[in-house]
């Protein structure tokens, strides 16, 4: 377990070091497949896009699938509360693109793509042009615009967009790593994960492990927002206490009631400053660091109403392809809205749970599951508010929060 001092010392020292620096004189290291996979396995790097899947396993799956793979840097960041990928692609695009080329080289990929919001396309194209001229990119990188939707960054939606179709999730009977863009084994990697790969390739797995915990090594980018004085993107090692992140974001502007971790598909945790931000420590609360979103909820705001608002947003962000989701999520959101507006009835919490169980696991992607995770977490974290609302009262309005 990293000590508080160690975790704090690593705030902002790696990915966000020296923003805007030109690529160093040494080219991105060229590693063969086996070496890169071994380095990433030793480093224990997990995906920073939210799912936290071991990166070496993903690469090994693509490598083992045969054929010429396709590699996609995913910078879509459809999550409203997240800004880390945008920050990384704006201030440290070289790191992300280095990581992309390292993976492309190791896997012998036939094509490389960057997928990010259209507004950032021009800047990244300029960087790619100068890299190509400097001979840094053996494989030309294609830039694709990601639409402004919540699910645009979902793995199979990314594959669809790269293939020229609308960015909607697809049925995953066959894994993307086996068959993705035009049937080729495809690696969709979050931009931040690629940046970590670039640094691990340069400095080694042991260096990577000097931050974070032994089970969850390395640093991650956190987007801290909500009731903080200086919201923004910070870097910290896993296991960093929640309070350190809040303080690094200027401190809370008022007393906090709860914190949303992992974004709109994440979970609510109590605002305990000593609570470490790691999978292990957050698991009892049904939450995980996810893609590093930290949203501070101040007192005086009704957490239940906020949860209902988020559920409403998520219901509006469905792809519209799958029956249980397009029907279930709006029903869930409406039920929560009834609760939030104190139009409660005794069976309401039971109805929320019934609908939650009904939509879970039934869809082409994990949008309904993520939404259910948030809702269940809200019903649990704000259960006092649930009881009050059912009785026609609101704790926040009455000043009890």
């Amino acid at each position: 377990m990293t000590s508080i001092a160690e975790a704090s010392a690593h705030l902002g020292h790696r990915l966000l070091a020296e923003p805007g620096r030109l690529p160093s004189a040494d080219r991105p290291p060229v590693l063969d497949q086996a070496r890169l996979i071994e380095m990433l396995r030793a480093a224990g790097l997990t995906g920073r896009g939210g799912a936290g899947f071991p990166t070496w396993r993903k690469l090994a799956a693509v490598a083992g699938a045969g054929g010429r793979p396709v590699v996609i840097a995913n910078g879509a960041e459809g999550e409203p509360g997240s800004g880390k990928d945008r920050a990384l692609l704006t201030y440290q695009p070289q790191l992300v693109l280095d990581g992309l080329q390292i993976v492309v080289g190791a896997l012998g990929a036939g094509a490389a793509h960057v997928y990010l919001p259209a507004a950032a396309g021009g800047a990244i194209r300029a960087v790619l042009t100068s890299r190509r001229q400097a001979g840094l990119d053996p494989i030309a990188v294609n830039v694709h615009a990601a639409p402004d939707t919540f699910i645009a960054g979902e793995e199979s939606a990314v594959v669809a967009a790269i293939a020229g179709r609308p960015a909607l999730p697809a049925d995953k009977r066959v894994r993307i790593t086996e068959s993705g863009v035009d049937g080729a084994p495809t690696l969709v990697q979050n931009a931040e994960t690629l940046a970590h790969i670039a640094l691990i390739a340069r400095h080694g797995p042991a260096w990577f492990r000097t931050a974070g915990t032994s089970d969850e090594p390395g640093t991650f980018l956190a987007t801290v927002g909500g009731a903080v004085a200086a919201p923004g993107v910070l870097e910290a090692g896993y296991g960093v206490p929640l309070g350190d992140l809040i303080d690094a974001a200027g401190g809370a502007t008022t007393d906090l009631q709860a914190v949303l971790i992992g974004g709109y598909h994440g979970g609510w945790i109590p605002p305990r400053p000593d609570l470490p931000i790691s999978r292990a420590a957050l698991a009892p609360y049904g939450a995980s660091p996810g893609a590093g979103i930290v949203l501070a909820l101040p007192v005086g705001v009704c957490g239940l109403t906020e949860t209902a608002r988020i559920a409403g947003y998520l219901a509006g962000q469905v792809a519209g392809q799958c029956g249980p989701c397009i029907n279930g999520l709006p029903r869930l959101a409406d039920t929560l809205a009834d609760l939030a507006h104190r139009r409660g009835r005794p069976g309401l919490p039971g109805e929320v749970e019934r609908l939650s169980a009904l939509v879970s696991g039934r869809g082409a992607c994990r949008h309904p599951d993520g939404t259910v995770r948030l809702i269940r977490s809200g019903m649990r974290a704000f259960q006092a508010d649930v009881a009050a609302h059912l009785a026609g009262r609101c704790l926040a309005k009455e000043g009890y929060r």
Binding site: P169, A170, D171, R173, Q321, C322, G323, P324, C325, N327, G328, R331, A357, L358, G361, R362, G363, A364
Partner: protein, 69 residues
């Protein structure tokens, strides 16, 4: 293990599968199939394989596939 894979982007909730394999599937509030065992890909025991293959064949939306996991 044989499992039933539902392509949710194709499923139109026509209900033939729930009719042909009621031991495995029920219908939800909107007519879409729900696995009774709660799994995303419900397990298909050997004695139901024939009925499931029939459901896979008859699904009007071609949304079902029997897979080995």
């Amino acid at each position: 293990m044989n499992r039933l894979h539902i392509d949710w982007t194709a499923c139109d909730g026509r209900g033939l599968c729930a009719e042909l394999v009621p031991e495995l599937l029920a219908e939800d509030d909107w007519g879409y199939p729900v696995a009774r065992d709660g799994a995303a890909e419900p397990a298909v025991p050997d004695h139901l394989e024939r009925s499931v293959r029939l459901a896979v064949d008859r699904c009007p939306a071609l949304a079902l596939r029997l897979v080995r996991r």
